[in-house]
Amino acid sequence: MAKAYLALVLHAHLPFVRHPEYPRFLEETWLFEGISETYLPLLRVFEGLAERGVRFRLTLSVSPTLAEMLRDPLLQGRYIEHLKRTIELAHKEAERTRGQPEFHKLALMYLALFERNLEDYTERYASDLLGAFRRLRDQGLIELITTGATHAFLPVLKDYPAGVEAQIRVAVDYHTEIFGSRPKGFWLPECGYYPGLEELLERHGLGYFFVDSHGIAYADTRPRYGVYAPLVCPNGVAAFGRDPEAARAVWSQDEGYPGDVAYREFYRDIGFDLPLDYIRPYILEGDVRVNTGLKYHAITGRGEHKVPYNRDEALKRVREHADNFLYRQRKQVERLERLMDRPPLIVAPFDAELFGHWWFEGPEWLEALIGRMHSDATWLEMVTPEDYLKRHEKNQRATPAFSSWGDKGYAAVWLDSSNDWIYPHIHKAIERMGELARRFATCDGMRRRVLNQAAREVLLMQSSDWAFIMKTGTTVPYAVRRVREHIASFNRIYNDLLANAVDLEWIGKLEKRNNLFQDIDYRCFA
């Protein structure tokens, strides 16, 4: 009999970035890096565990925009091209580092990794990663849930509920179509929750969502168990709160595992370290240096000086950190079980891309952790939220507080002087889309196409990623361009429809580019 439950939740998301109008596009590499460094390694870990007979249970949210990109033949082909280029570079690197044993070892490590990725992607998965996730789901190992259609931060759309409704409905319909069954739970983008949101979730058959710790702690009635049990909203939808201890172990900038000095340093990529002439074929036109994925240094310490990465050392740390996580949780659970009259639930949600992409050794850590729980840490049982709700049917009723897991815990990241200019336009677009949906509730095929494309543009402008980028200042011009393009496209369609003067050629081009959610029905905005 387990003393406690662990609900591990991975949230895989990337915004829709697809530029058929260019042969290569810088921001498409977000997807390629995600596949190479996170999704393929995670799949290998999960399948490896399954093959070894290690049963596990975890929840995986795959955002609709990420799923669309993973299914898209253009991007699949581009990924393969990208992989081949990287393999070529790795070969050159293996040559170049012949006289430097420490780096040579790593060049060979990367070469093997990239070749493995190519083989797995093209042969094992036949470019169909979603199918791989489905199979794991069918084996009962992962529970697949969904999130906002374009990952909008929902609290900023609160007073425009048609916008929230569309984000949920399009996501649920899409998820059902590609995974073959309705999602039972919902990952709120950035854990952005506001009281009342559960009404819209319930309408689509969603039974649970996740909030940050203070969303539960500051609920409208004091939660008896804190975050160590879910709360159920008055309408029956359950809210699961993040365990701060699990979060701190991994996310903390100062003490989190990913920052350990033995782990691979993200910022020392040969795309930046090596001379331009050498690296030029592997970066983009205009000599814009980019990450290649080949990084040879360990974090080492705070300063500039970095030692060569030692894979064996790093893997040793991985095992130590898996043990450490269990040790810390054990201490926590021992305190909790003295206080609680039911087994405590530890909810540990993470962005999937943390594992592998940011924290290179992350997937191995997950593997070690799951392996340990299976072999000797049997006091901690892996569950999904649904498993918990089936075993504990009676839960405290309360409404969580408006909250998010973003910096400072509320809406500050998405509501900032760097990005607040977008909301008057987004809100207006939702209003106008509603107007169009009601006015043209029934119409012919041509108009329907146009209205569906308008709906896509409205959804695309709402991705929380754009506001986030504007605030955190990474690829700001791209984020700004995206939001403005979608606003401009939508308003053009709106005006043209009202004037009965739509340029179908232009619509056709737009459809080919922003081609997500083939089966969208614009009336979801009505």
Binding site: P223, G226, W251, S403, K471, E485
Partner: protein, 238 residues
């Protein structure tokens, strides 16, 4: 837009930019003179925009998170155009955290023109605490005013209490009389502490201990607080 910024651009680009702004140029104009000219133009345009009730000004200014002003968008001149406004009077407020909210508004063009012409008009936001009250315009628990300019279109408002309900009004005063332009949506600020309410069926265990453990100050040590967003890492960062 700084002198350095303009100087860093090639002459050809500066020329093209000037032409797009319908500035007549001498074929032989040197870079230094062109930079001077463009800086003058930027200043003029910035002043002009201050006069107009335009959201576009704010939009342009906010695009550059390093604070560099570029009112004519020299660096991103091919951004698609978006509406400057929607020619309607509206006021929307979005709570940001327990004690801050963000408000944006627009005044319909006819009204805006009328107000601009009138020297005696004083525009303001009035913030009402309507916690537990069905607001009828006069019965708020308390209120305070924020004077604003006709050229303003957004404001971050510091609110006195968390876990409360508020409503905003945009109004103007003229010769001692008040004229309401528009009222906002009602909005709630989230709590920043545990609720006082206890469900007798689910009484707390061990005092507040479980609640304290639930918070553990971890909420600020997580994604976003200075650390790089995991999935959106700039591929051009070195």
């Amino acid at each position: 837009m700084t002198r350095e910024r303009l100087q860093s651009l090639p002459l050809e680009e500066l020329r093209r930019f000037a032409e797009r702004q319908s500035i007549e140029l001498d074929d032989a104009v040197d870079k230094e003179s062109l930079v001077d000219l463009l800086l003058e133009v930027f200043e003029e345009v910035a002043e002009e925009r201050e006069e107009l009730a335009s959201q576009e000004v704010r939009v342009e200014a906010k695009k550059y998170t390093n604070g560099v002003e570029d009112p004519l968008g020299a660096q991103q001149e091919d951004y698609p155009p978006i509406p400057q406004g929607y020619n309607e009077t509206r006021l929307v407020v979005m709570p940001r955290d327990p004690t801050w909210a963000f408000a944006y508004w627009e005044i319909g063009q006819d009204k805006a023109v009328q107000l601009r012409r009138d020297k005696d008009v004083r525009l303001m936001l009035r913030v009402h605490d309507v916690t537990g009250v069905r607001f009828n315009g006069r019965n708020s628990r308390s209120s305070f005013e924020i004077p604003v300019k006709l050229t303003d279109s957004r404001w971050y408002i510091n609110l006195p209490r968390a876990a409360s309900e508020y409503i905003l009004e945009l109004l103007y005063k003229k010769k001692g009389k008040e004229h309401l332009l528009i009222r906002s949506n009602v909005f709630q600020t989230p709590p920043e502490d545990f609720s006082e309410r206890i469900d007798p069926e689910w009484p707390p265990l061990a005092g507040d201990l479980l609640l304290q453990m639930s918070l553990h100050r971890a909420s600020s040590a997580i994604p976003g607080s200075g650390s790089i967003p995991q999935r959106i890492l700039s591929v051009t960062e070195g």
